[in-house]
């Protein structure tokens, strides 16, 4: 394998010494970039880009040509697993993801089987292999999946949801069936992430986008428990190197202590959570990734620099911080503002990593 030239991101996730705070950005390959919109327009749909390894590779690399990001992230969707299970994923403009065949009856759930990602999601592992080849050791590649709970919400609701009425009605009225669904998903997610690792992903992230919609008690029982099951099944070493893993629950700031006991190397923080307070709460257990408000990128570059400095200062000295947004970048953000964020992180973070 090619030697990795910049492994700052991987070291920060493992709280090993670094020279500066690494940065990448959720949805860094995406609609805010005109070159992405061009590829997406020519392909005809979002899924057409995801399922074509050459196109997925191209858009994964685009942001790295503009900005000094310290990691690449596979271009894909969090809902590939339910699609592989036969639910029929498609995207309606402005309405987000939809499933043609959502889970409507107990029989729909009973018949779901754990997926074999190298067969059913071959387009993803092919993309991972191609991206690794094209990255040529410049920065590490992140693989990812939706969390079991988050996948379940879309599979039962049939798409995005405001109140999660259907999935919560199932959870409250038939918890055993809900647990069966989540167990099948946890096994599938672990197999999927391990296939990405085997194909070359050098770190993996679990996106629990909707865990924050649960009560503390239900979060532990229906979301975190299955995130932990995934973690327990994950490949931890590949190519002679630790493959760090990250757990991100949007709206999960109340539960960082519990999240920090599940074995994940790092926790993603949404923008609501104060990173200084978060570090005090989790101690040395995990690294932290985050957490600028994605909407702060509407501000002018000078304001963005000040916000970056505040977050660096709040995290404080020492390794274990990966800079990121607290959620995905929005499509109408000016790429110049992204550059201001990235360059500010690299300019102002070395002082927090002075080697004595």
């Amino acid at each position: 394998m090619t030697t990795l030239k910049n492994d700052t991101f991987l070291r920060a996730l493992l709280k090993q010494p670094v020279e500066y705070t690494p940065i990448w950005m959720m949805r860094q390959a995406g609609r805010y970039l005109p070159e992405y919109r061009k590829v997406r327009g020519e392909a005809g749909s979002f899924m057409a880009v995801c399922t074509n390894p050459e196109l997925a590779c191209e858009v994964t690399l685009q942001p790295l040509r503009r900005f000094d990001f310290d990691a690449a992230i596979l271009f894909s969707d969090i809902l590939t697993i339910p699609d592989a299970m036969g639910l029929g994923l498609h995207f309606t403009e402005g309405e987000g993801p939809k499933f043609e065949r959502p889970l409507r009856t107990p029989a729909d759930i009973e018949k779901l089987a754990v997926i074999d990602p190298e067969i059913e999601l071959r387009y993803v592992t092919d993309a991972v292999r191609l991206i690794r080849k094209n990255l040529d050791g410049s920065v590490p590649l992140i693989g990812f999946s939706g969390s079991p709970w988050t996948l379940a919400t879309y599979m039962v609701e049939g798409g995005s949801s405001k109140n999660f009425a259907k999935v919560k009605a199932l959870m409250y009225n038939d918890p055993a069936l809900m647990h069966k669904l989540l167990d099948t998903l946890a096994q599938s997610v672990a197999a999927y992430l391990n296939a990405q690792i085997a194909a070359g992903a050098q770190a993996v992230m679990l996106f629990d986008t909707w865990g924050g919609m649960l009560s503390s008690e239900d979060y532990n029982e229906f979301s975190l428990r299955y995130a932990k099951q995934v973690r327990d099944l994950l490949t931890l070493e590949n190519e002679g190197r630790r493959v760090p893993n990250i757990l991100f629950t949007k709206g999960g700031g109340l539960w960082l202590e519990e999240m920090a006991t599940t074995g994940y190397d790092a926790l993603g923080l949404d923008w609501q959570t104060d990173i200084q307070h978060a570090r005090t709460r989790v101690g040395d257990k995990v690294a932290l990734q985050g957490n600028l408000d994605p909407l702060a990128l509407y501000a002018n570059p000078d304001v963005i620099t000040e916000k970056v400095k505040t977050i660096l200062h709040k995290y404080g000295k020492g390794s274990g911080h990966v800079f990121n947004l607290g959620h995905g970048i929005l499509p109408d953000i000016n790429p110049e503002h992204v550059k201001a964020m990235v360059d500010s992180v690299h300019k102002y973070s070395p002082e927090y990593h002075t080697q004595a």
Copy 2:
């Protein structure tokens, strides 16, 4: 004035001894009740019910005829103030509130004046007076308003929002103008709540529905600061009795300590927040109101009873707990399930209030 026959709710908010845990429910007057849908249908629109004191009174009283709630809450909307300021509130089926004339320019904000509620929102204070008369001292009446920050989000966005892009762009790019808007709103909200108190509201609640969309830092600067300004201006006594006040920030579970220092008597808790943990964090500073997941009312009555018992147990012994949902009830909940919740709270809470 008529003697108040059941003041359990008011005593619990002030952490005075009670015989059982009182309960009311956010949106208890609403679409889940067929008798409400009848009035609403005949009136033609939601705002037609709000602006007609007789109809507002009727729907406020409806849930009390079915359930043993320990408080009534004025039937109104959180957005009456911006409507009185001339923004033109209307409701589109399934889309939530909209303003015909949202704030689009600095001049739109500069020209806003503090409202005089007894003139511009006379229909509200008339409704309060009529409801008090009709309650005839059975249970106390709660008045309410949207918080300055939450009103500002709707006024700048023009309606509900997913990302709050416009209001955050304003906040990040012109904080001084944002502060001016919030100051005008805080003065208006305080005047409005004080007018409701003068008309007969025996407790008041500030709904900060969208404070949770902010970072910790921005929450303190743009939401909590103005909630405190409102609190500092509130009438604290009327009819020879303390008028307790409640602050509810949905998604604000991370900031309870800061909220508890603002002088409010009680904090509303959303369903994400563990009430046992919350009580430990706020100590004796405030009472707590909440916090069953509104979606748990989809469960069958036996499950609802178990969930009620868990929350009562988590709060534990002593006064200072008002049972409620963690957010408003949904329109498709079976009223029998509400009855199961209310009756369970009354049946299982006395053991937590045993007088030695």
